[in-house]
Subunit: 191 residues, 2 copies
DNA sequence: TAGATTTATTACCATAGGTTAATTTTTATC
DNA sequence: GATAAAAATTAACCTATGGTAATAAATCTA
């Protein structure tokens, strides 16, 4: 929990009262590998700040195929933001890829923080701005890069994540099948 | 300009002073079809609110191919947010697809509005939240839909835009070539 | 650690979409 | 409105990636 508090203090002053409120709505939890923090179809009222471990959010299409939207590691937030921001039922699942410790927040209570302590607004705004920019980049990469270029970029961006992920997690993040990823890897190995 | 002011008033109170500040930093401009509001390589210090018309943001890859990130129509914001939020040079161009009238803001001055008039924070936060959710959806669609499904969805989401766009604008938004889009269209026409 | 289960690899064939190039259609310009 | 320029269509061929299935390897579990 101090990790998050310190992160916030890096970019803004944090009053005693605000810090106390944060503590009052935060629950530190540890989930085992394979645990589902959010499941498709649920009403989503939780967002998670990752203290350590590795998680992913994914959806399952009509053919039963999984598509990974996001990996989450230390100091990242993760939830189903489509559901939260549009007040819909979860279309995503959040899965623990290795034992992970997170801070769980009730989404509504966390959202109240902005009216109670407006000093959080600039912090959140910057977080959202950086998120938007990174999503724009992801879309442009998806449009212009080949599967093998995307894989190379992924390894750059998540250098240590492969030890926690299955091949098909990565493939479904890149938008290819696990068999195709397997082929890419064997071509890379040949060189 | 009233259009934007009214939009803001829909979701929050707007003090006289805040409204005056908005006016003081806004320039209404009309651009001809083909005009480039932002060009790759420039330092980006402008964001645009679209009063009417149609624009798009796109990048050009090493092979010279264009990739459309976004179309912008009435009441949308458009700029190179990767450049603005990361303080980088423009990697995107913003092009006018038909004569368009926009409100041009200096990005820095627009950003100052949050310290001068914190009442804008919730408005901006909600804008960013909806933007994040829609980008998440776009990525999931790109991962799980075929080209023809994406085209159908595009037509749903932008029902009137085809009259202003070239075929290759749409193709480069969907992540396919204009020839492929042409094939899709002829298959649809057959049915 | 053995056995069971899950995951990764490989090979083969299928297919969506890319490439190139020629032709037709649409749009812009004078 | 005639001409030039740009864009769209179509076809033939090509390539990257998908689908299936069999095998090997890794991981889990008792």
């Amino acid at each position: 929990m101090e990790a998050l508090i310190n992160k916030i203090k890096d970019s803004q002053d944090l009053s005693q009262a605000a810090e106390a409120y944060l503590y009052s709505i935060a629950k530190k939890k540890t989930f085992a590998k394979g645990a589902l923090l959010i499941q498709q179809g649920q009403r989503v009222n939780k967002v998670f700040y990752i203290l350590n471990g590795c998680l992913r959010s994914y959806c399952i299409d009509k053919m039963g195929k999984e598509h990974t939207l996001q990996f989450g590691i230390k100091n990242w937030w993760i939830s189903d933001y489509i559901a939260i921001y549009n007040n819909e039922y979860a279309n995503l699942a959040i899965e623990c890829l290795k034992e992970s410790t997170v801070i769980e927040f009730n989404a509504k209570k966390l959202n109240n923080i902005f009216s109670l302590f407006p000093e959080f607004e600039p912090f959140q705004r910057q977080l959202l701005e950086r998120h938007v920019a990174s999503l724009h980049k992801r879309i442009l990469n998806q449009l212009q890069l080949t599967a093998s270029e995307r894989y190379a970029l992924f390894l750059e961006q998540y250098p240590d994540i492969e030890q926690f992920t299955r091949n098909y997690h990565i493939a479904s993040y890149l938008g290819i099948t696990q068999e195709s990823l397997s082929r890419l890897r064997s071509e890379i190995a040949k060189k």
